[in-house]
């Protein structure tokens, strides 16, 4: 039973050679047509051994082959959410409430063995600082080959060969040479490609990219984004792309989920959110990022600070900084409202169409 057999025919990978061998998996591949690959439902996560609730009621879903962007400021909870989905929450963090499922299997109660299977074979991950996520004393090629040998059972020779192929497929020139380099000898862009190669080496269905392009030069950024898109097109790879860079998200993602202060304030198709944002915070973010508007000269900021992590606030957590906040915003918890196809907003004023003038007045 090879991995290839389970892929839907339209998602076969012409660009990358098929993986050889197979690891026995207890998490079976989803049949084509299941809606959500990864689904987080009403997740509540507390940090610092229960001292503060950092994530409140986060729900989101990713489908096969979909690229979903998580955006928000630092501290908004997007990275913590990813970490939870990956099962690598830092010490002191616990999932208090809610569920996570991957292809129908519950992740919240997964054992360590279960996670070892999911990791690599079903979910891959790349992070912001690739150099620190690789063992500094071992060559990158060896670290890639290690995954192939351990998870796919390849022989040393086969693993070496496949590693070189993978390195080439992610766009590295002279892959044979790169194979023998240690992380310190490679640039950030090259290392990120290596990380991606490792992450997809066992052909996972989902790639979690946590600020994967943030630390890279703009040109390299563009190449990596291109690579991710290519992987989605050729392999049907779903990507959970976390970033605080709206421009990148706008370009790459199919859907966008906007985080603020530990909550999802808006989620929907990327095109719609970029053009017709409904939540004041999203609008403000777009203004600040001046997405698409290169000629603007003034620096726009969002006045104020996000609330401290875990702060107990009645009502909307953005109300303190919101230009159109009303009393209704502060009375009680705000439920998400559907405003379009797959487009949800957590705002009582989402249905209204305020003019740009109102926002500019603040």
């Amino acid at each position: 039973m090879t991995i290839d057999n389970l892929k839907s025919p339209d998602l076969a990978a012409p660009g990358l050679p098929p993986t050889a061998g197979a690891a026995p998996d207890t998490v079976s591949r989803p049949a084509p047509g299941t809606s959500d690959l990864l689904s987080l439902d009403d997740l509540h996560i507390s940090v610092h051994h229960g001292a503060a609730t950092a994530i409140r009621g986060v729900s989101l879903g990713i489908r096969r082959g979909e690229i979903v962007g998580l955006v928000g400021e630092s501290g908004s909870g997007k990275t913590l959410t990813c970490r939870a989905a990956l099962g690598v929450l830092p010490a002191g963090c616990t999932i208090d409430h809610g569920s996570m499922t991957f292809a129908g299997h519950d992740l919240t109660t997964l054992s360590r063995r279960g996670w070892e299977e999911v990791h690599g074979s079903h979910m891959g991950a790349v992070f912001q600082d690739p150099a620190s996520y690789l063992n500094p004393t071992i060559t990158v090629g060896h670290q890639l080959a290690e995954v192939l040998r351990v998870k796919l059972g390849l022989s040393r020779r086969a693993a070496h060969q496949r590693s070189v192929e993978l390195l080439s497929a992610v766009g590295l020139h002279q892959p044979e040479h790169v194979f023998h380099q240690i992380p310190a000898e490679l640039s950030g862009g090259m290392l990120q490609r290596v990380m991606i190669a490792i992450a997809i080496s066992c052909d996972p269905e989902l790639l979690v990219a946590d600020e994967a392009t943030t630390a890279l030069d703009v040109t390299i950024q563009a190449e990596i984004i291109d690579l991710l898109r290519r992987l989605r097109d050729e392999r049907g790879l779903a990507v959970l792309f976390v970033s605080h860079d709206l421009a990148v998200v706008a370009e790459l993602c199919d859907r966008v989920v906007v985080f603020y202060a530990g909550e999802v304030v808006e989620s929907g198709p990327a095109a719609e959110i970029i053009e017709r944002p409904r939540h004041p915070y999203t609008r403000a973010l777009l203004e600040v990022a001046s997405v698409g508007d290169f000629r603007r000269r003034e620096l726009r900021v969002i006045a104020g600070q996000p609330p401290p992590v875990g702060a107990d606030i009645t009502g909307c957590r953005f109300a303190g900084r919101c230009p159109v906040a009303a009393d209704a915003c502060r009375t009680g918890p705000i439920a998400p409202v559907t405003v379009g196809d797959q487009h949800e907003v957590r705002c009582v004023r989402a249905q209204e169409a305020w003019s740009t003038g109102e926002l500019a007045a603040r």
């Binding site: 940090v47 610092h48 001292a51 503060a52 950092a54 400021e73 630092s74 501290g75 908004s76 997007k78 990275t79 913590l80 970490r83 690598v88 830092p90 010490a91 002191g92 963090c93 992070f127 912001q128 600082d129 150099a131 620190s132 500094p136 992380p183 310190a184 950030g188 946590d210 600020e211 943030t214 630390a215 605080h244 401290p308 992590v309 875990g310």
Partner: protein, 307 residues
């Protein structure tokens, strides 16, 4: 380390550590025994009493009696002087031979430093026991002469640590400034460097005294320098070993005494060391979310931590 500026350190601040306070008390006790041990002992350490062999602790003999019926407590108290004084002798030799060159080597050029370092490397590996015993072969069975090679072999440690401390402090800008203003190297050393290096030397002295005491205990255990029936800590331990079958608990007593004293010295050394670094080690405020592994808000900080 960012965060709190170093607290102003005073001579009293290291007494805050409970371990330091206990250590001081213990060492004061030992010091008193060193000077007045024989007189303070409740009984004559040499009196043999054939009727009271191998007794356990009792009201009359707080720590029991040994194989000749002698009071163990008194023997240990009386034996403190020789053990401690010879240990101090060795430390003194080590200090004198090590600290001077340790400071000087920083100013005397690369070749001297290189040679001194290699010499130190070699000396540090030689086992003191062999040399101490060899000396007694030549110069007679006395603890005083036996501790001389111990002292010589302690010198490399003093050298190395003093050198490191001097290096650390001689590169400060005020030293450079002083030299620019025409001060001679000697003056610089005397006035600036020495003052800063002294705490480190104090730490080392405490540790080395512990080591020397261990050496003394061991050598007397082996029979060096013991003129029976005069008591020494190691000697008591050694005789206890001969009569284990009759009194298996006995060796624990001198062993505990040795261990406690050495432990007190090490605790003192640690307290000295911590006190100097107290400011830097002051607790940082705990972030709400541990910022290891790219958890926000470390996004920008991450870049500066790229390996």
């Amino acid at each position: 380390m960012s965060g709190n500026p170093p607290r102003k350190v005073t001579g009293r601040s290291f007494l805050r550590l409970p371990s330091a306070r206990v250590a001081i008390v213990v060492l004061l006790g030992i010091a008193v025994l060193t000077v007045f041990g024989s007189t303070l002992a409740p009984q004559n350490p040499l009196t043999i009493n054939a009727n009271a062999l191998f007794q356990g602790p009792s009201a009359h003999h707080w720590l029991g009696t040994d194989y000749l019926g002698r009071d163990v407590l008194s023997r240990l108290m009386a034996g403190t002087r020789l053990s401690v004084l010879t240990a101090l002798e060795a430390v003194g030799i080590g200090l004198i031979l090590g600290v001077g060159p340790g400071i000087a080597t920083v100013f005397l050029g690369r070749w001297f430093d290189f040679a001194a370092n290699r010499l130190t490397d070699a000396l540090m590996t030689l086992p003191y026991v062999f040399f101490a015993v060899a000396v007694t072969a030549a110069l007679g069975n006395g603890l005083v002469q036996a501790m001389v090679p111990v002292g010589i072999l302690l010198a490399p440690f003093f050298f190395r640590i003093t050198r490191a401390a001097t290096l650390e402090h001689s590169r400060a800008q005020y030293v450079e400034a002083a030299e620019l203003m025409g001060a001679s190297k000697l003056h610089v050393v005397r006035v600036h460097v020495l003052r800063k290096v002294l705490p480190t030397i104090a730490v080392t002295t405490a540790s080395m005294t512990a080591a020397a005491l261990l050496a003394v205990s061991f050598l007397t255990f082996l029979g060096i320098g013991v003129q029976p029936p005069a008591p020494t800590w190691g000697g008591v331990l050694s005789s206890d070993l001969d009569y284990l079958n009759q009194a298996p608990w006995a060796p624990f007593i001198p062993a505990a005494l040795i261990a406690i004293t050495i432990g007190a010295l090490n605790a003192l050394a640690d307290a000295f060391r911590d006190r100097r670094g107290a400011g830097a080690l002051a607790a940082q405020p705990d972030p709400i979310i541990a910022t290891h592994s790219t958890l926000e808000p470390a996004d920008d900080d991450r870049q500066s931590q790229v390996a």
